[in-house]
């Protein structure tokens, strides 16, 4: 409707461009997914026929992903890390939202910018800076007090902290945006109807924020799940999936089992994305 004065050729060209763009978007994923079903030891052409071995076969050399303990363990760690990061970052994202939408304190703008900053720090740098501080602290504790602060050594805790450090910005922004749309008179209405402050929070404000919290949680989960740059420096022996896959690719040699994992992840995150969309299509939009 906004291009009614354009020629049909122009519109056709535009449509073609859009189509080409989406092919561009899909291509590498399709490629990565498709080779999961190639009955070959290498994820490469030629096509050797269809197989599900890379998912379900239980013997080397074609060990399927569901029998590959290391990949499964990576998946498990990724999941655990992502869940913790999502939970923590929703929590802090929510308190941040309240802080910046409702709070009134000096230098609020400055602090708000500080909240956004982690998003524009390269992930590698977040990783190393946290690594450096954690090891320095741990070394100091060990040298001076003889304390062994093992949680400050690379491992799940640091990975969680590293990811949390920038994912919280994302969740904060999402939840803040939602809270800004909240009509504060709704809280006053609830108070007026006799609810205590705690009850208002529980029955009015948090339910209103819930779609944003869920959406933010899903984004946080996905971002954590796929994070590489920050995790790389902080990972200990409990490596999440991306690291496991990278190690596999770089140090062992990839078989189509990596494609199988990719395919599995695509389907999984696709479903999650769908959930988030269903959640956001909420009924509170008046």
């Amino acid at each position: 409707m906004l291009s009614q004065n354009k020629t049909t050729a122009f519109i056709l060209g535009y449509r073609l461009y859009v189509a080409a763009f989406f092919i561009f978007l899909a291509a590498p994923l399709v490629a990565a997914g498709a080779f999961a079903f190639n009955d070959s030891l290498f994820p490469a052409l030629p096509w050797q026929g269809f197989t599900l071995d890379w998912f379900f076969n239980d013997t080397e050399p074609k060990l399927g992903m569901f029998h590959d303990d290391r990949l499964l363990r990576g998946l498990y760690y990724s999941f655990v890390i992502a869940v913790i990061v999502a939970a923590l970052s929703i929590l802090v994202g929510t308190t941040n939202a309240f802080l910046f939408v409702r709070g009134n304190f000096p230098a609020k703008n400055f602090f708000y910018i500080m909240m956004v900053v982690p998003l524009v720090i390269p992930g590698v740098i977040l990783g190393i800076s946290i690594l450096v501080m954690a090891s320095d602290t741990a070394n100091y504790a060990e040298d001076v007090w003889g304390l062994d602060l093992e949680f400050l050594r690379p491992g799940i805790f640091l990975v969680v902290m590293g990811q949390f450090s920038f994912i919280t910005t994302i969740t904060s922004l999402v939840i803040t945006a939602r809270l800004k749309k909240f009509d504060e008179t709704m809280e006053e209405a609830a108070l007026n109807l006799g609810a205590s402050r705690a009850r208002v929070l529980r029955t009015i404000t948090l339910p209103f924020l819930r779609p944003a919290m869920i959406a933010a949680g899903i984004v946080a989960f996905l971002v954590s799940f796929e994070n590489f740059n920050t995790t790389l420096f902080l990972v200990g022996s409990e490596a999440p999936l991306t690291i496991t896959m990278y190690d596999r690719m770089a140090k062992v040699g990839s078989t189509p089992v990596l494609n199988a994992v990719s395919f599995f992840l695509m389907v999984g995150s696709g479903l999650l994305a769908l959930v988030s969309i269903l959640v956001q299509r909420d009924k509170t939009k008046q």
């Binding site: 080397e60 363990r73 140090k251 040699g253």
Partner: protein, 334 residues
Amino acid sequence: ETLRLLTWGSYAPEALIEKFEEEYPDIDVEVTFSNNEEMIAKLRATGGAGYDLAQPSHDRIYAAQFEYDIYKPLDLSKINTDAMQAKLLEGVKENTTIDGEVYAVPHQWGTSGLMADKTKAPDLKSWGDLCDPQYKGRTSMRLKRTIILGMAYEMGEDPFAAYSDLEKYQGILDKVSEKLIECKANIKAYWNSGDDLTAMMLSGEIVGSETWDSTAYKIYDQNPDITFVPPSTGALAWIDTFAIPRKGKADDAAYKWINFVLRPENVTIMSASTGAIASVKGAKDLLPEDKKAAVNAAFTDADIDNLKFFANIPPGVEDMEGRALEKIKAATGG
């Protein structure tokens, strides 16, 4: 308890782990794949925690231990050293003893050298041949220290001897860098992992490359035209070892694993996966048939005599080499 291995890809085949866990039901094996640099970096960051057994190469232990104190001395009485080839054991002990304490024992050894598709590059024999214009755009190498050392030999230098005189070593590095920058135009890509090397080689995108012997053996399985080629100046030999991180928490399990994988029947399984030769007596005979064939296709006795074992890296060399490598990488060579 859990045994957390920090080791090379393929050094912990699933079959062997299962077997081990069957034998010691209360031990759970967890593996992290790594390489020399990362092993050190990791252990340095953790102060020697997080892992119970590491497998760096023999030349990478001394300096790392000296500078970062990341390993604990081995209790040799808990290791079945009798089974090991005395020469290898002594060599490793010599390289890894600090203040009278031994920090590593050998596991298996192998070489870095060349591989070539005999049908397409029958004349590829020396490190320098990778830069032969007749193979323009059809060779590859890994931009790591191995190729620097190989190329130094190629140019008539003895890099290991120069370790004692870092200024001289810098001179060699400069020369080699120049050569490698020149060579850049000739190669298709630097490989990063056994994986991309395999893909390029098998698909015929390249005809020859610097390689780990084990990778070459694996490819030999797929395509017997492709064999490992010990360079004319001698293949570079490494011994991957066992070392116990300073804050390892499962020393007993670690010792159990060491003794377990050195048992003859397990050596075969291990070698089938790694393509490397165990440091136990009679190891060559314990190789699985296909690997044996590959080794025989690759090595003559003369080649074995000509092996150049990696020498201990003194502190600071990594940094010098790193800089040289960056320079090569950054140079525009086409």
